[in-house]
Symmetry: none
Subunit: 414 residues, 2 copies
């Protein structure tokens, strides 16, 4: 199966937006055993899109288009592709009801152009959008070419791909052979180190394959077996994973594409029926917000403090002002007191505290990226000093991830 | 001048690397008044690259290739392009000396394959690489097509572009015309509504152009003028902006590609020398974390509370338990008390409080997306009820943005 990806949008050609959709789709299609041979980007221009479709027809069997399904005049992917394959555009009823209820809830008038988003090919398969209004389309032409039309915003494209497209592609292109994947997630090791540690495995890979992928502050490895025998494939994956775990298992934290460190931590807390609070300085709520994104977190997380200034560290947490003055806020002594006081006030099993320098300027004579993280429990308190780099936003994210990992390791050792 | 960008590398088609070079080059070329009409990505495959070059010859005047200039077997951009245009490859002397001194300094043996990196077109212009070893090439064919070959690593491509390519392109294609842009940011209006309100302006656009772009919970408009007279261009932008502001100015909150609602709020607080705290339930720190991302926020933001449970609303903020039991936590009464108590405890000018249902399940009989936001100041407290939709993460983000906008409007009215 030869595939290509066409992203439609003038903003991509102006360099205002990075084409991360092509990257995401390429990785996912590779995982499904579909080979991507070309990426293209074209502006919101009917003629140039049509010429790309003609070219794509000649060289690819699966043509994935993303972007241009929205309600504006720029959005013409659906219209151009419909004309290209000779399909009539008709209203998708599920998408239409979804659109009506969206505007009803917001108590805003629905403008006519929104209806465009609910149009689909008469003989295509509609792909519902759980995160937006534009309905996607899958269509197979008489010539046998497959067209997949997806929305441009990654927040809409990704869930549509996982929930609607993957089952469809698996069903449409089901061969005796199937692909079975396992995603391993790592924290605390860089992609280049991981790849170096596994160089011989990656180099010699044919089946299973090993695909590393770097994300902010973590790395995933996707192991994929092409097989006709599911039981045997799982054994193959188990054997390969065992070798990997032996080498870099110290950094492994969980399985699955949609997992996260915050998810693993919340699961562990639930399993052990333990509760958590936090006191955050430089992270300013980002640690607690990461927990707040996990559904059902209220079982284990009750609340916490954002103590950005020395004043709130004293007022909210009851830390002695003279003590703070003496030790400084970016210090082991301060961060441990923050964790202890927060735990006492919130009456939880665990408490995590953060204090450090987000940058860009230094603070109390310490460079941007210097961060102390403390963890308090009934056993007392311990803390660790970190040196993170890059910009303010990345330093804060690095601190949140380090705090989550500190807690995860503590919970696993109990 | 019609241009296109061809990135060469199988790693791009596997989704292991994002094509940020295309984004960078597009933005830079737009700034030089060169229009990019297509991006393509092709793997390390001579035949497919040759077919792309044939296509590019027909549709573009400037063909920018990036990647595939390195020393490995995969790297064949230079060889394929040389054959395509009928150029002989010869050694670049500056690049060769650079290569020798690189290996000498490192006291490592230079392997033969490295010489590939110093080969250039006999009748082309060599582009020196200040951050690596692969020499770049600029070449104009007899047919009049221009080819620009750049290295793949962004750390090499960017300095080569700035130091070698920009002066060259300016010299080769010097025009009087330049592009001048202005970005307007809007909150509280959807992309489709904005486009409807400005339909006649967008439809008739030639120069200036108007490009709308939807981001999570906001929309931007980029106005661009192609001009030979900067002063006149700014007047043109002023005139166009005035028309836009008259129609949708109520939703306008600021200028610039790298601006944000949080940024604007922090600037207003600084300007008015006012301080802020927050008490967050469903947003669980996300509002405070958005502020924490702004450098210098410590002047106006001292800290706040994450009160996720009824227990912490009572314990941290001192709200009466019986009262909470009676009114429920997702209520106007509760959220206003949260704002008032937080303001008193933090001794700030303003306080914003959030309480609602992040979902996916309902809470206290209210559906996911129901959110109350309160704002307390020395004038007292007021609050507003919202109905957000989509998933948990989007609902929380919507609440954060609504809270920022509530505060922004309050600060502007003072």
């Amino acid at each position: 199966m030869k595939a290509e990806i066409i992203a439609v949008g003038t903003e991509l050609l102006l360099g205002q937006v990075v084409n991360t959709n092509a990257t995401f789709l390429s990785e996912e299609l590779a995982g499904l055993g579909i080979d991507v041979y070309y990426h293209s980007v074209v502006g919101d221009n009917a003629e140039r899109l049509e010429s790309l479709l003609e070219l794509a027809d000649q060289r690819s069997e699966l043509i994935v288009l993303c972007g241009g399904l929205g309600p504006t005049e720029d959005d013409l992917t659906k219209q151009v592709t419909a004309a290209h394959v000779g399909q009539e555009l008709v209203r998708d009823e599920v998408g239409y009801q979804n659109l009506l209820s969206f505007f009803e809830k917001r108590q805003r008038p629905m403008t006519e152009n929104n209806l465009l988003q609910t149009l689909v090919f008469k003989e295509g398969i509609s792909l519902q959008n759980s995160a937006g209004l534009a309905v996607g389309i899958f269509y197979t032409s008489i010539k046998g070419n497959h067209y997949l039309l997806l929305p441009g915003p990654p927040s809409e494209l990704k869930p549509m791909f996982y929930h609607e497209v993957v089952p469809l592609l698996q069903k449409q292109f089901q061969k005796e052979e199937q692909l079975i994947s396992r995603v391993l997630r790592f924290y605390g090791i860089g992609e280049s180190q991981l790849v170096t540690d596994l160089a011989d495995l990656i180099q010699g890979q044919t089946n299973p394959t090993i695909a590393p992928y770097a994300k902010p502050n973590e790395v995933t490895l996707r192991l994929t077996v092409k097989t006709t025998d599911e039981t045997e494939a799982i054994t193959q994956l188990d054997v390969l994973e065992a070798v990997i775990q032996e080498r870099v298992g110290e950094f492994f934290y969980g399985y699955g594409e949609e997992n996260s460190l915050a998810n693993v931590v919340v699961d562990l807390l639930k399993e052990k029926q333990q509760t958590l609070t936090a006191a955050e300085s430089l992270t300013a709520g980002a640690f607690q917000s990461a927990l707040g994104d996990i559904s059902g977190v209220s079982e284990v997380f009750l609340g916490g403090f954002v103590t950005y200034s020395a004043q709130t560290k004293a007022n909210f947490l009851g830390i002695d002002r003279d003590f703070l003055e003496q030790v400084g806020t970016v210090s082991q002594a301060c961060v441990e007191q923050m964790a202890l006081h927060a735990r006492k006030l919130a009456q939880t099993d665990y408490s995590v505290a953060f204090s450090g320098v987000a940058g860009p300027n230094e603070l109390e004579g310490q460079p941007a990226g210097t961060v102390w993280i403390a963890l308090a429990s009934e056993q007392g308190v311990h803390s660790q000093k970190y040196h993170f780099s890059r910009d303010r936003s990345y330093i804060r994210h690095s601190a949140v991830m380090a705090g989550l990992d500190l807690l995860r390791r503590e919970l696993l050792n109990k």
